[in-house]
């Protein structure tokens, strides 16, 4: 009964946090505690409904083939009977969206809870929770959208929340600039996505997901140019920005300027995977276009490796995690690119748990160390912060891909999918990235939590509101992958594209990934913990000087963009402005000046002297007289205007 209600009222899930946003902004803002209760409470209720809805979906196999869709008209143009454009808003529930609905609301609930402790005493406490609630609402709306435009709206709103939350410490110039960068970068990507949506609307006349998937399946290309290819590429530009794929990943590391719960929720677990989710939702489109699939896979694989190499050299704890997020998102894209929705969504699911966990852990550390972010300045935290440390270690094991932690199963699934589709190069890239991931993650863990204690630090364990979410997420990081083991893959039975995929268990790949992960951890152990005194790491960095510097400076991509932005865009702008004031306005003022000049010219006759006027008057009389004398009176009367 209740399940039924939740299934058919799934729009309540985003609506509740949206209401919380309104309530906090207009009513409870002066009372921080109350605001927090409203936000967490509404999210918890939303999570409850989401769980029920997800339960309803995952107990009924009909929804796999035929998603539950209910929608209403948002607006339409043209004749009421046969509109030229009709956009619906509605809910589309299928296993993928139900999974996301549950995951987002679940993680959001705990991160909201965590924020109560983390944001304690901040002057913008209520505002923070209002933003968080708005974000929750938008993200949940995005997840259940049945229409691409509706999704785009939610997509824009999560971008807005991301902007507001990154720039939450708005008095810091770095935060302000990071927020702006995030928004503008995503805006560039949204431009592509918007074009893609427009093309879809124009070609297929609808943006409803279900209708589109049917129409595209029966779409035959008549042109050689390939409308579908174009559309697919355009649509993919959106996820490139939102999910931090190369080359639009630059905003994501900077986004760590926001409070840590924000990084955990938005920039690790939920919003950044929206791009992956979108590609997953529109996989019917990409599936028709092999070259677009290729693009997705290559972009994903490259991003995974690229970000991992940068992460090796970074020093700030959240920055390392950010590059790791970029890298993991690359994995998800890679999985989509090779056509495996199963593997991609699986990784998305497990990643949400362990990455949120690690960010919250990092937040706990920062909270304890008063926002000292450099891992080299930490060390030995495990003694004072046991819960944080051990949950963080679980996260580290999960992301490195050590069985039976969650990350192992999903990463293995991706690698196997890549291999089985015959992408050997991408497989190699993925495998190497797995090694790098294990290495840089454990580098960070060894440096921050183990090793020698630094006397100037006075860490302490965080309050229960912060540790409870850590423990819950650690359980998730441990067990979330068990639903998709190769031996009994429940996950693949529910979430797939086309038909469920059941390959044989690939022990070779599994073994390889375990070995690589272990090797990475061991290497990190050797370099940073066991022989830390020998300063091998420093010497290594010196040997590879230019490479190290290039990695440390993130391949100078930020500088390139900065140059592009300042020199080209601003330069053109200034040029245009000068053009405007000197040429366009010059012409306008020139016309005005011409009028003034001719006035000045005629002023000579307006001397103000009586006799001068008399002279001119007589000249006029003479002219009329001459006219009459030499042309006759009729012509003169014509000139004089009908004087008879």
């Amino acid at each position: 009964m209740l399940v039924e209600f939740a299934l058919y009222h799934a729009w309540l899930v985003p609506l509740l946090p949206a209401l919380a946003f309104g309530v906090i902004v207009f009513l409870t803002r002066p009372w921080p505690k109350l605001s927090a209760i409203v936000a967490v409470g509404s999210m918890a209720v939303a999570c409850f409904f989401a769980t029920l809805a997800a339960y309803g979906v995952f107990t009924n196999h009909e929804f796999v083939e035929k998603p539950l869709v209910y929608a209403t008209r948002w607006f339409s143009l043209g004749l009421p009977g046969m509109p030229e454009v009709q956009i619906d808003v509605g809910v589309q529930l299928d296993p993928t969206s139900a999974m996301m609905l549950f995951m987002v609301s679940f993680i959001a609930t705990f991160i909201f809870l965590y924020s109560i402790g983390y944001m304690e005493g901040d002057p913008g406490f209520s505002v923070f929770f209002s933003y968080l609630s708005l974000f929750g609402a938008s993200m949940l709306l995005l997840v259940i959208s049945s229409n691409l435009l509706q999704m785009f709206v939610a997509w824009g709103l999560v971008g807005l929340c991301s902007y507001l939350l990154i720039g939450f410490y708005s008095h810091k110039i770095s935060a302000r600039e990071a927020a702006k960068k995030a928004f503008v970068t995503c805006r560039v990507a949204d431009f592509g996505l918007l074009l893609g949506l427009l093309a879809l609307q124009i070609v297929f006349g609808t943006l409803n997901l279900t209708e589109l998937s049917e129409k595209i399946a029966h779409f035959e290309e008549y042109t050689t140019f390939g409308m579908l290819t174009l559309i697919a590429v355009l649509v993919f530009i959106g996820p490139i920005g939102k999910s931090g794929q190369f080359p639009l990943h630059v905003w994501l590391p900077d986004a760590m300027e926001g409070p840590t719960p924000v990084s955990a929720l938005i920039h690790a677990a939920t919003m950044v995977v929206a791009g992956v989710y979108l590609v997953g939702r529109t996989l019917f489109l990409f599936h028709e276009v092999p070259s677009a699939m290729q693009l997705v896979a290559v972009t994903g694989g490259f991003t995974a490796l690229f970000a991992a190499t940068i992460a090796i050299t970074q020093r700030e704890i959240k920055r390392i995690l950010a590059y790791s997020t970029v890298s993991q998102l690359g994995y998800m894209m890679l999985a989509l690119g090779v056509g495996s929705l199963t593997a991609s969504m699986f990784h998305l699911w497990t990643h949400a748990f362990f990455k949120a966990l690690m960010f919250l852990g990092a937040g706990s550390v920062l909270h304890a160390l008063h926002h000292k972010a450099d891992v080299w300045e930490m060390g030995g935290l495990y003694k004072k912060m046991p819960i944080t440390t051990w949950t963080f270690v679980i996260g580290g094991l999960a992301i490195a891909g050590i069985p039976p932690f969650a990350g192992f199963w999903s990463k293995d699934e991706i690698l196997v999918a890549t291999l089985s589709e015959g992408h050997y190069v991408l497989f190699a890239v993925g495998a190497f990235t797995a090694f790098l991931t294990a290495f840089y993650m454990w580098r960070m863990i060894f440096l921050a939590f183990f090793g020698e204690e630094k006397p100037e630090n006075h860490p302490h364990e965080s309050p229960w509101t912060m540790t409870v979410p850590l423990v819950v997420l650690a359980v998730g990081a441990l067990g979330a992958g068990w639903v998709g083991t190769p031996w009994h893959n429940v996950w693949a039975e529910w979430i797939f594209f086309g038909h469920p995929h059941h390959g044989p268990v690939n022990y070779g790949a599994m073994l390889l990934s375990i070995v690589l992960a272990a090797a990475g951890i061991y290497l990190a152990y050797m370099l940073y913990l066991k022989d830390a005194k020998k300063k091998r790491a420093r010497r290594l960095a010196e040997w590879f000087g230019p490479v190290y510097r290039m990695l440390y400076n993130k391949y100078y991509i930020d500088e390139l963009y900065l140059w592009f932005n300042h020199a080209l865009v601003d330069g053109t702008a200034r040029l245009m402005y000068l053009f405007d004031i000197y040429v366009v306005d010059g012409i306008v003022n020139g016309i005005g000046g011409f009028a003034k000049l001719s006035g000045d010219g005629l002023r000579v006759f307006q001397s103000g002297r009586l006799q001068n006027y008399a002279l001119i008057f007589f000249l006029g009389v003479l002219a009329v007289a001459v006219l009459m004398a030499f042309t006759g009176p009729s012509a003169a009367s014509l000139v004089l205007g009908g004087v008879k």
Binding site: V85, A175, D190, I202, D570, M576
Partner: protein, 506 residues
């Protein structure tokens, strides 16, 4: 005879102005209250009209005075009527007019004259939107120009250009535009009268007679009207009055000017030029599209180079009007819908933007971005309003301007392909300059010299509340806006396409 609602809406501010003339000039509070009541009556009635408009029937409603002959020999009647295109504009005028009164709450330099002129200005603008007679339309348009000039040169402010220059430029530009328009209108009237036999100045009458005009006539008449309405709507390259004019004008005038006055151009383009001269419109459409796109890209880049807040919004409004031109150039149902809706959306957003900038200027005495910063800490409500307007300006989904822009994009992408892409790319630049302005004004380290500033409160909140509500509600429920517009755009488009088929094009 039913209640003459349009006439009442039109005359409420006039009545307020008349009462104001008898209020002692020292009674500042009373003066402002009278102005507020006058505009509120109009606002309430126009809301009522908007929501009682029968969308299923469409067409002209609330007809008044179609049989009140005014000038018999010219066929002029005092014909007031509203349809789905004029109602949003009327509502917009009143929303902004009402907010503008409160945005000028702190005007203490000769407030009585200020508010009388403001009331006349609002009346003139409303008149243009509900007139269904071309002569009356032009008459109300001329009523608008004079108060604007006086308001700018007395209550304006001099920055890069002096307020006298700004006021002069604004007025002369508008008058030149209207002079060309007048020539076009007279030529149209003379030609249609010759064709139809009896003089008729009503829109419908002119349109019916104009259908028989030759293709050549339609083309040059449309060119005149395009120039006239184009310079009014700040179509590139006839836009340069707009940034200077707004920068020089007092807040309320900037609000009304950017919010609604500019829209008279777009409205006239749709409801007069395109409606009466469809063949000419289809000839000029590609050129219009090019000018529209030029305007979008050019003005967006221009805004990027600005450091004065009002100049940014001034250029931004030129850029947004580029979208309107582009949409009108599409000449289809989606584009025309988008054009009208975008005018509404931009009006609300620009008015909110200008009112917030007005408050910033009033409090800090500067609009120069490098001198500002960190205001979000000292004046959070002001910052919220500013950001709301900024986000609407960059077309954030969920706010009122997104769906209109989206419909414009559909239609222009469909009709003009690559050209439209350049226009759509404008959203990136828009985001860049809007966010830059917002960030540098509101965020960053707070400045100690602004610590004493008071946040907006009381009457000053009205523009934020009224316009902000419209921004959000219009964004969440676009059908509120589009159903009304659509009910009149569909028949208008049907008339156009009929004419085009007879004209042998298409």
């Amino acid at each position: 005879m039913e209640f003459p609602i349009l006439l009442t809406i039109l005359l409420a501010p006039v009545a307020a102005a008349l009462i104001l003339a008898f209020v002692p000039k020292e009674e500042h509070m009373l003066i402002k209250c009278v102005a507020a009541v006058g505009t509120f009556v109009s606002l309430a009635l126009s809301l009522f009209a908007y929501f009682t408009y029968d969308k299923t029937v469409g067409g002209l409603q609330f007809v008044f005075g179609h049989n009140v002959t005014w000038i018999k020999d010219l066929g002029v009647t005092f014909f007031l009527a509203a349809d789905g295109i004029s109602l949003p504009m009327l509502l917009l005028t009143n929303l902004i007019g009402f907010s503008a009164v409160f945005a000028s709450w702190n005007v203490n330099n000769r407030p009585r004259e200020f508010f009388i002129l403001l009331m006349l200005l609002i009346t003139g603008v409303m008149g243009t939107f509900i007139a269904h007679d071309l002569f009356i339309f032009l008459l109300f348009y001329e009523v608008v120009v004079i108060p604007i000039y006086i308001l700018v040169i007395i209550w304006g402010s001099s920055k890069r250009v002096t307020k006298e220059y700004a006021g002069m430029k604004l007025t002369i530009y508008l008058l030149i535009g209207s002079a060309f328009l007048l020539v076009g209108v007279i030529a149209l009237f003379v030609k249609t009268t010759a064709l139809a036999g009896t003089p008729d100045m009503s829109f419908t009458g002119l349109a019916q007679a104009a259908a028989q005009l030759s293709r050549f006539d339609q083309i040059w008449l449309f060119a005149l009207m395009l120039f006239g309405f184009g310079s009014l709507v700040s179509m590139w390259p006839f836009h340069s009055w707009s940034p200077d004019g707004y920068a020089g004008a007092p807040t309320a005038v900037s609000m009304i000017h950017a919010g609604v006055l500019k829209k008279i151009g777009g409205y006239g383009l749709v409801k007069i030029a395109v409606y009466m001269l469809p063949v000419g419109a289809s000839f000029w459409a590609p050129y219009m599209a090019v000018l529209g796109v030029c305007g979008v890209a050019y003005a967006a880049l221009g805004a990027l180079a600005q450091k004065d807040l009002k100049y940014i919004v001034g250029y931004s409004s030129v850029s947004h009007m580029g979208y309107v031109i582009l949409a009108v150039a599409c000449l289809d149902v989606i584009g025309l819908n988008g054009a009208v809706a975008n005018m509404f959306a931009h009006g609300v957003m620009a008015a909110l933007f200008f009112s917030m900038i007005g408050f910033i200027y009033e409090k800090t005495h500067t609009r120069w971005i490098p001198d500002l910063g960190g205001l979000a800490r000292q004046t959070p409500r002001l910052a919220a309003g500013f950001m709301l307007a900024a986000l609407a300006s960059l077309g954030l989904p969920g706010l009122v301007s997104f769906i209109p822009e989206f419909t414009i994009f559909i239609s222009s992408f469909h009709n003009y392909g690559g050209l439209a892409v350049i226009g759509i790319a404008g959203i990136i630049i828009t985001a860049l300059y809007v966010l830059r302005a917002g960030a540098n004004t509101l965020f960053g380290p707070p400045r100690p010299e602004y610590d004493h500033l008071q946040d907006i409160r009381g009457p000053e909140m009205v523009p934020l509340v009224v316009l902000g509500t419209v921004l959000v509600v219009g964004g969440l429920l676009p059908s509120l806006l589009f159903d009304v517009i659509n009910s009149s755009v569909v028949p208008l488009h049907a008339a156009i396409s009929d004419a085009l088929q007879i004209g042998g094009k298409f």
